[in-house]
């Protein structure tokens, strides 16, 4: 359990980071909280020449409120979100999701951007942010910025859409209206473990948002951008049969489908109780 020998560079600006990343032969990996990368280094699943520490770059450790959204820097820690560092109104789901991630020691160091880039299907931030219809702000080595919806940023299990030389600057999360309802439910065999089933419900009629996301799949998230088409006439909750059929088409095991359905039902119950008005 020892990593290979590597150098560490503490970058001061994002320009410095993409400059380092520009040469694919240099073997540079970005590190922030190191809560996923650390174990991978120790198992030698990753063998970098250089680790570029981005936790000293203010642009990445801060957040910025915009008109209809908030930009959260990639190096903002989960623990600080749990502690209410971000505004609560419009973003009520975030501290609650943060508080349920692993253990406090992990949350103290682990970052929202690191979790998104690691793209573990069973992790919390990728699923929660898919549910919130967030998008990723990416910087290329030529200095150009582009934005990708979270659902396109995560391309598979432990795979993201970053091309060589690119880095994640942060995440844009749309503001929810005061009438928005949300539910976030995950199934863990043990407190702090990765989820084995996960459902996110995001209902915000003011933004015409009726989103349902399943995480903890074997690959990409299962995203239902508008679940109303799966509801029966009398109900505002998708029918279990319709969801079951959808999950069966994706070749999930019957036990996994049962767990995902349970999480979905509980997420909708939670959403029903989450409306403050």
């Amino acid at each position: 359990m020892k990593p290979v020998a590597f150098d560490i560079v503490r970058a001061r600006t994002v320009g410095e980071v993409v400059q380092l990343l520009a040469d694919p032969a240099a073997g540079v990996r970005i590190v922030a909280g190191s809560q996923s990368l650390g174990p991978m280094l120790n198992l030698r699943l990753v063998q970098p020449n250089v680790l570029c520490d981005i936790t000293g770059i203010e642009e990445l450790t801060s957040f910025r409120e915009e008109k209809d959204s908030i930009f959260v820097g990639a190096s903002v820690t989960t623990g600080s979100i749990e502690d209410g560092r971000l505004p609560y109104e419009g973003y009520k789901m975030l501290p609650s999701v943060a508080a349920g991630i692993a253990y406090r020691a992990v949350r103290n160091r682990g970052t929202i951007g690191g979790s998104v880039c690691h793209a573990d299907p069973a992790a919390d931030w990728p699923s929660a942010l898919c549910g919130l219809d967030a998008s990723c702000v990416i910087l290329g080595s030529d200095g150009a910025r582009r934005t990708l919806p979270m659902s396109d940023f995560i391309t598979g299990a432990f795979e993201n859409a970053l091309t060589p030389g690119e880095m994640l600057l942060g995440i844009n999360i749309p503001r929810s209206s005061p009438q928005a309802k949300w539910g976030y439910q995950k199934l863990c065999r043990k407190t702090g473990e990765f989820a084995s089933a996960l459902a996110v419900v995001n209902v915000d009629p003011a933004s015409d948002r009726f989103r349902l996301v399943f995480g903890a799949t074997e690959g990409r998230h299962i995203i239902i951008p508008d679940f109303r088409s799966l509801c029966t006439e009398q109900s505002t909750v998708p029918s279990s049969d319709a969801i079951r059929e959808l999950l069966e088409r994706l070749e999930l095991s019957s036990t996994h489908i049962s767990q995902q359905l349970a999480m979905m039902q509980r997420a909708f119950s939670q959403a029903d109780g989450s409306c403050q008005s």
């Binding site: 174990p39 199934l187 043990k190 407190t191 702090g192 036990t255 049962s258 767990q259 359905l261 349970a262």
Partner: protein
């Protein structure tokens, strides 16, 4: 020795003062002091050479979620006869710690291999151990029936708690599953195994279908 004091020709000193001097003020010890220290070791042979077993009954109350397959331990009681307890705190520790181990082997711990013989649980990321939130507050009652065969009536207590949980917890789970015609008899009892047994029972044509 007289009344806890060592008595010489002209003076005496308490055992307490000797101990304090030995451990805290060794500079005051005489140069020709016995270097073996203040330790005494005694051995003895019990009347019976066939072990000094303790006895216990474990009872678990569990909730099984038929949708997720998760098992939650609601209550756990151990009644243990460890004979005369020399240090009750250590006895309770052995029972609780052993029960935690037993909960691990019942619900969590497994070392699976894939078809190529590759171990699938080679780190604690994959090998799940019960933590503080998975081990209930084990309620312990002591019987303290002195062993006729040992000094002081003591009985062996080490790790005894590890033996009971698989039987107690699986029986409780099967009691919950019985109404649905399902049964579990393989460890660890994972959520998947519970759901498979329920699904099999729901679809079974023959009664008593097992996984």
């Amino acid at each position: 020795m007289e009344g806890g004091r060592v008595v010489g020709d002209n003076n005496s000193i308490s055992l307490r003062d000797i101990a304090r001097c030995w451990y805290l003020q060794p500079q005051h010890l005489p140069p020709d002091v016995e270097r073996g220290g203040l330790e005494v070791t005694e051995g003895y042979k019990p009347k019976s050479d066939f072990g000094t077993f303790s006895y216990a009954t474990h009872v678990a109350t569990v909730a099984v979620d038929p949708l997720t397959g998760l098992t939650e331990i609601l209550d756990y009681v151990v009644v243990e006869d460890g004979g005369t307890m020399i240090n009750p705190m250590v006895v309770d520790g052995q029972i609780t710690g052993g029960t935690a181990q037993g909960i691990g082997s019942t619900l969590y711990e497994a070392t699976p291999f894939d078809s190529q013989g590759q171990p699938l649980a080679s780190t604690l990321i994959d090998y799940i151990l019960p933590g503080a939130t998975e081990v209930p507050n084990v309620r312990i009652e002591h019987m303290e029936i002195a062993s006729p065969n040992t000094e002081f009536g003591i009985k062996g207590i080490g790790e005894g708690g590890a033996v009971g949980p698989p039987a107690a917890i699986v029986c409780a789970i099967n009691d919950a599953l019985r109404a649905k015609g399902a049964e579990i008899y393989r460890l660890p009892v994972t959520p998947e195994r519970i759901l498979e047994s329920l699904q099999r029972a729901a679809g079974a044509t023959a009664p008593g279908s097992r996984i």
